[in-house]
Symmetry: C2
Subunit: 553 residues, 2 copies
């Protein structure tokens, strides 16, 4: 990375994964960061609360960082920000809703004194050699932008997350004209959202959901409960609009739903007459057919309002015959089983439940194949880099770009940490920086190491067996034990025979030990471990973690 | 359950769950069992290999059991059989492929001397007061049957798993005429498959898949690798047929794929010219465009052939540019992430991967709404009991039955263990027997208790912290420790500070103990546990399992 006249693009996250979106743009001594997202843990990341990108590269180049630019307020683009801002204090640029959501998060992390600078679509800011122009896009959160970045060697377009919604709820269209301008004046590189690159056709407009809502509202005789993402302000607006049409009051429920709605209302992104939103406490005073409850929990999150309602553990809301519950969100892969359980519980308690499979109550926020091709044709970049997706999404997107006329040599399917170097004469992948994922568990405690996760996996699978032995320091005589203690292995009360057998085996192993082993505690431990491991594998086909503890007294 | 002239229907599994299908039919001193299935564990059943129904009711009524009847060979209908047959030796009835698959399983469990009695569609057998007629159905495994059961108070129809495939691969149609005969002569009760009761329309014919295969085969220039379920003989037959059409040899790969194909070939359910099936070892001698590999692993199972191929760990098969991989199966909810990873790996290694989302390479084996209504109209039962599904599937199926003219009072949405009692004058839910799920872990070791699973969950989430203290028996003086050992909690090498803090805390707690606590080891343990628990929650927001071990010497 010595090229003085080179532009470097380094994705720190978001490639070969959904989440962790974060990209570095660097030229000489100027470095800007676009987005800083988190990822929710996969099922084998036991006990991990969430994942952030390893941004040590940024810390190593602290003095070069000119600012952080956010494309929109989703956590997969902003969630790592508090962790980054604990390490470096640089200005953060974003639209007003994006920054309002970020402000809440920073408060939770007790981070103050950050310069949050609000921008509007078509604003242009200068950060070192970079001029960054914000261009409105349509997405499943309001106030999203793509970026036009002017650099010393050419223009870059970063789409951010987008779809081409011809009829957005707020009437604010994608800024086709600006994107088209970049196509006309020449674009060196485009980075574009690959999430739906597998999906044929066009993504439906957010407005399509309204038709499904109207149909449901017109038939519902009792209460209506709608679960969706707290950040999906357009969806919430549509619920409000249909509720007004059918003369129902709105109750917001769930911490983030209330907070986000209040923010959006204050900023004017959400619109409703003043007396429409009533407090949860007033629920009992309203007739069932005069109320809509909007809440979180569409992914079956165990502590969410909807989960608690489903198992009768919510203080104010009990499901009864006649209730209609709408899950207005995509079932994210990995969550289907938990969501399925909630649907079963709700139906069992008498609710009519409407979900993705049985009605059109959700549309995606990401562009499908035809939209992606259109975007490529509009911007006509020289080089193309699919971002925001697993490998297969990036690959499908690369194929679309090739079909749309970009030479395959000019398409770069990258990995996190890989460096794309662009000069006036060409572009190439040129090396790799240190990158990766940091697992966050608990109060910002920092990372969870791989070895810890490996241990958790073993513990989760077959539990732990502890062999406890007391040995006299000088004589090496056994003075206590072997005592057998287990957790998550077998139910000791019911399997006393097994525990006894294990104890006998350990007693015999100890009494058979050669003198040269007895003198070395680690050798005793190794012998006990290997003997017990073999025994449990052969007799029970189980592999608990075995922990011999020898205490010298 | 004293009614002498009563018929009792008792589901032991399969209601409010997918899997575990098992139903008891009882009249006076005669009891028959239909199916005995297993279920694969859900993600919170840590370390559990699989789940079987609690069949203690059957063991308590051992002497009444006249036989077990199998509808088809899928494991969710036969997988609990080895465990049941270890406890009681009764004859098992099924069609020849079903029994051939069962025979393999019994061999694995070292169970011999079971009377397996082969039946053919339209055969009638007598078991006590029951006459059971077998009626061919179409499903995603060949040789499936539904049952017509003549009892002293009326006829029962049990559909088994079915779809109404108008063009089955083997030409063997659903036995409409027999089902219709039951409709004509009168049916007291029908139990019917609810799996797809949420899905509108008709399920596509298995033959539809052939078109997709032909399209893929006509374009593929290199090897073709197809993953599907080893029991889906029709699917395998279609691959063979298209392979012959495109002059490709077949290689079967994976233990169960080879075993099932051989069984199906021997019994005549699978048909191919003798030299078509070549050995895996011959792969390297064949041109890439002359071979199809059929294998298992369509669900992303970590040890399956496809998973090993995907990460370059298969001895004979390495993915290369030009390979086409087809996942010809449904992505079962809960498996999407593992399957997604495999797709990414395969594409990264150059394969073209075709899966559910991007092509029509799979159809379901279960009837959708229109077929279910047709079945109800055909059989015209007096009483109706939806089976084989989660609560929402049963409920949707019940609604379909009501729409089809069955009075809602005659529809019974049951739970496992609930008793449906039918007499000449009526039907009602009448009590409950003991039922539930048994978790199998390891070598048929018997159940895993709830408390063990709870421990595994805690261990999985935050690991374990052991506080080890040696105390002199008489004086209660501390002679060793406190020593802090952890697993799956934090990485001790990197977090020595935390370990030291915990040790200091425990030392202080011990030295502050009142005399009346010191005299009681369980009180010392409780004090150490509560102190440490509070400390870790407040400082780190973590909740590991805390295990104080006091050794008296």
């Amino acid at each position: 990375m010595n090229g003085e006249r080179s532009l470097f693009i380094i994705p720190l996250g978001g490639l070969e994964e959904i989440g962790l979106n974060m990209t570095v743009f660097q030229y000489a001594d100027d470095l800007i960061i676009v987005d800083a997202g988190l990822m929710f843990p996969e099922e084998d990341m036991l006990g991990v609360d969430f994942v952030i990108p390893d941004f040590s590269y940024i810390l190593e180049n602290k003095e070069k960082v000119k600012g952080i630019i956010l494309t929109h307020g989703h956590e997969d683009h902003t969630g790592a920000l508090p962790f980054l801002l604990k390490e470096i204090n640089v200005p953060v640029y974003g639209t007003s809703l994006t920054l309002a959501l970020v402000r809440e998060k920073l408060k939770e992390h007790d981070i103050a004194d950050i310069n949050l600078i609000s921008v509007r679509p078509r604003d242009i800011i200068s950060l070192g050699v970079f001029d960054i122009e914000f261009m409105r896009v349509t997405h499943s959160i309001v106030d999203g932008v793509g970026l036009g970045i002017k650099t010393p060697i050419g223009n870059i377009v970063h789409t951010g997350d987008f779809k081409l919604d011809p009829t957005p709820v707020d009437g604010e269209l994608m800024d086709f004209h600006k994107f088209s301008e970049y196509g006309e004046k020449g674009t060196l590189l485009m980075l574009s959202d690959s999430t739906n690159a597998e999906k044929g056709g066009f993504t439906f407009s957010e407005k399509e959901v309204r038709r499904a809502f109207e149909d449901i509202f017109s038939k519902a005789r009792g209460r209506i409960i709608i679960a969706t993402f707290a950040s999906n302000i357009h969806r919430i607006q549509q619920v409000i609009d249909v509720a007004l049409q059918y003369k129902r009051h709105i109750i917001m429920c769930g911490k983030s739903m209330v907070a986000n709605s209040q923010i959006a209302l204050d900023l004017g992104y959400l619109k409703m007459p003043e007396d429409t939103w009533v407090r949860l406490e007033n629920l009992r005073d309203l007739p069932d057919d005069k109320v809509v409850i909007i809440t979180t929990g569409s992914q079956g999150e165990p502590m969410s309002v909807l989960s608690r309602i489903a198992i009768d553990e919510h203080k104010h809301i009990k499901i009864k015959e006649g209730d209609t519950v709408i899950l207005s969100a995509k079932m994210i892969p990995g969550n289907e089983r938990s969501i399925g359980k909630i649907i079963n519980h709700l139906m069992k308690r008498g609710a009519d439940v409407i979900y993705e499979k049985v009605s059109e109550i959700h549309v995606s926020g990401h562009a499908s194949k035809e939209e992606l091709k259109l975007m490529i044709n509009l911007v006509r970049p020289k080089y193309f880099m699919p971002v925001h997706g697993e490998y297969r999404h990036l690959k499908y997107h690369a194929r679309l770009a090739e079909k749309s006329g970009i030479p395959s040599d000019n398409i770069f399917v990258m990995q996190d940490g890989e460096i794309l170097e662009i000069t006036e004469t060409g572009a190439l992948k040129n090396g790799k920086i240190n990158s990766g994922r940091i697992f966050i568990d608990g109060k910002g405690m920092g990372g969870v190491e791989d070895i810890v996760l490996r241990d958790r996996k073993r513990l989760a699978h077959d539990g732990i067996v502890i062999v406890l032995v007391g040995i006299e320091k000088l004589t090496k005589r056994i003075v206590s034990g072997p005592e057998i203690i287990s957790r998550g292995f077998i139910f000791e009360d019911a399997s006393q025979d097994i525990i006894n057998e294990v104890r006998d085996l350990m007693t015999n192993t100890l009494s058979d030990l050669e003198d040269d082993i007895i003198s070395d505690i680690s050798l005793i431990q190794a012998k006990l471990r290997s003997t017990l491991k073999k025994y449990l594998r052969n007799t029970m086909d189980r592999k608990p973690m075995i922990m011999p503890i020898i205490m010298e007294v």
